[in-house]
């Protein structure tokens, strides 16, 4: 690896090496930092499985060049909580049993988290709109919406 950048990932200062500045951030997170939250789904920014937060915004890490992440504050699913101590949104997904294969769930949580950071009590329509570019093939949509409602204190 010929170059590297410094950035913060889940609150920790890290150095990410790369050969190609255009390499998507996703590969650095998964292969250099061994993070398993962000997932490869399409590489086209169409499905949302790879979503992370960069400076608080939900971003598709499959199409975000690693070099652009210099000095940024990146949060992945792992940065929210653990299975022993989950974050309120992760806990809501667990309570609603809102996953089947779970491959898309990283994106659902990170996208919904970004929504809740801006809108504490989103309506059902707002939740669906916010998640409309996150694809789920198993058909877990209803539970995912309920989990976001639950996390925002709007129990259904």
């Amino acid at each position: 690896m010929t170059q590297s950048i410094k950035l913060k990932v889940n609150g920790r200062e890290v150095s990410l090496p790369f050969n190609d500045p255009d390499m998507p951030l996703l590969y650095a997170l998964r292969n250099e930092l061994d993070l398993k939250g962000p997932r490869f789904g399409c590489g086209l920014g169409q499905c949302g499985s790879c979503t992370v937060h960069i400076n608080g915004e939900a971003v598709r890490s499959c199409s975000y060049p690693v070099s652009s992440a210099k000095g940024m504050n990146v949060t992945t699913l792992e940065g929210l909580g653990t299975s022993v101590k989950p974050d309120v949104l992760q806990q809501a997904f667990i309570d609603e049993q809102a996953a089947q294969c779970g491959y898309c769930i990283n994106g659902m949580v990170m996208q919904a988290k970004a929504l809740l950071n801006k809108n504490k009590k989103p309506t059902e329509a707002q939740i669906k709109e916010a998640l409309s570019n996150n694809l789920c093939r198993c058909g877990t949509h209803q539970r995912i919406v309920r989990a976001v409602q639950r996390a925002s204190g709007q129990l259904v």
Partner: protein
Amino acid sequence: MSFLTKSSPVQVDTSKPTNLSRRSLLQGAGSLVVSFSLAPLSGSVLAATSSTFNSVKSVALDEVEGFISVNANGTVSIFSGKVDLGTGIRTAISQIAAEELDVSLSQIDLIQGDTLLTPDQGPTFGSLSIQNGGMQIRQACATAREALKSVAAKEWGASPSDITTKNGACYLGDKSLSYVVLVGMQPLKMKSDAKVTLKAPANYAVVGKSVPRLDIPAKLTGEFTYIHDFKLPGMVHARVVRPSNLHASLISFDDSEVTKIAGFLQVVRDGNFLAVVASDEWAAITASKKLKVKWSEWEGLPQQKDLWTYVRNSKIAGVEDLQKVGNTQQVNLEGAQTVEATYDFAIHTHGSIGPSCAVAQWEDGRVTCWNASQQTHLLRKQLAQMLKLADDQVRCIYIDGAGCYGRNGHEDAAADAVLISKYVGKPVRVQWSRADEHGWDPKGPPSLYDYKGSIDKAGRVISWESDAFIAERPKQISVTLLAADLAELPREVAHPGNIQQSLAVQYKLPNIRATAHYVKDTPFRPSWIRTPGRMQNTFGNECFLDELAAKASIDPFEYRLSYLDDPRGVECIQRVMKMANWKSAPAHSQQVDKAKSDIVYGRGVSYIKYELVRTYIAVVADIELNKKTGVVRVKKFYVAHDCGQIINPDGLRNQIDGNVIQTVSRTLIEEVKFNRSMVTSLDWASYPILKFPGVPTVEIELIDRPNEKPWGAGEPSAAVVPSAIANAIYDASGVRLRSVPITPAKVLQALKAVKSAKA
């Protein structure tokens, strides 16, 4: 140039003994397994890191030890040939085992789909994981429990019937002996007893409860290991460079650009199979894009607009009468009305959110392959055939992937990985791209139906004839491995699944003929996608019955009920009628000319007794249709569901939600697009699926029958969705939509045709 010829794969020496002690997975044979402790969920992954080949335990289907090991730490390992494809059977099968063994759920460690460790319970398809796989495990666990009781009884000089079991121990009064101790006295070396006394459902503590799924917390926090996350020391990354068309030959390639890429290692070519290998993943991706390749031209696909003519005119491999009742040729048609209709159902792709992935490693002439195959045992056979190895020289180990909903690209990625790894001599990870998955995973084949039915003056059915044009079914239940095809290695012909099922009519009609015409040529490798054939056949059958009911001016549920004498089917329909507050009336009798606005509403019904022998489903679909735009929105689905004994009600609801929502997507939107050479719908923009705003509400009523057999639920509730939607569209508009996907263009065309017919 790093091109490797076919004659220079890694040299392997098969004469050396396998390195047995490299990592001893299970120490010692017998059912007492010592020094082997697995945390729940990590079990299969830990097992997965061993590539040993020596037989460490029985994998016999008829032996208790095939399925069960009592471990020294008090846990019990359950070895399941059926795997959790995201449907929750890891939890459900653990519940079944814990219940029957009388151990706590946390004591169960489920190991799935490892050809060295788990019995071959058949592929995880056909809604059979609980019904067949789970029941084999239930029987083995009951046999083990009774055997353990006998050992304790002998020790205490008591009768086995006096012994009770709880939390992994046998009890008599204040005496107790743990299973670990009992198994140490007498290993569980016995046949699984088909006549063993199973626990009475009234005494169930774990089965029938909505136990939270064991895998979900880790999936929510990034702690779960999918195959995509699996890494081996020294592993390199490969990408397959796909041909420019379905049947291209590789003419030449130029790697002068890719050799400049930092991390690039080599090109692998075997016939028309072409791959690039690199030390890091992005270098492999970059190399796959920069490799200059010349492929031969090929334009053998039909024009998409002529697909149904192509299917109808294809060579027929065989004709099979699936059902003959009475004689449709000798009915009295005096005063009768005859209805004829043609239905079709498009080519679909599986659309897994995570493209297929596999890791392979060769060692001493044998290969281990880790992937998310729904059929590790069948895959092992196919890989062995392709590689000209004996079955036991190949080990396939399941690690969860993205949902596959049938035979998608997982097995092909496995074949890619073992082939590339053979050339490279290192562990290789192959990750498919989105275009690989959309373009090259095998497809659900096109289905075409001709129906002819007659009703008498009273509206009663006199005769029913169906002719289905569906993909040929070779004897072997597998789908050709893509790598074997490209490299021209030994392989089988693709099989589409048992797609003739559910074409036979589930109602007591006087004269029936249901005939399958097996089409020799389908445009793409055919395979099974959730509810294969049953969905398409039920679309035709349940829509056409609706046509006859409408012609007879009889309420569609009443019409169905009048031909049913199965009490469970009748109850299922009655339950959904009540749930949906069904108002009895012939379809489209209440909406006529009522709606002046562009938006019209309708309700459609459908019913199935799956494959005529198991799970009952009745549904009502509520839709709205915009007559101006042709857009159909499914607002709500009511589902009454009877699959017998329910293992995990919440898990079942999750599955039914998924079946309905996924199938609404397939019904309204999905269709593989192609030109004369190749699939052209290679991403989510060109092959879209349903998004959040379009998702209906699904309301479910489960009919639990704890004393009945548990039947499958992975597919049946999907079967009824397309027909219920099409029937609802008729109710709303008076227009029959007989072609899936039901696109706005087709709706507008059908509305226009009806309007001009009236004029």
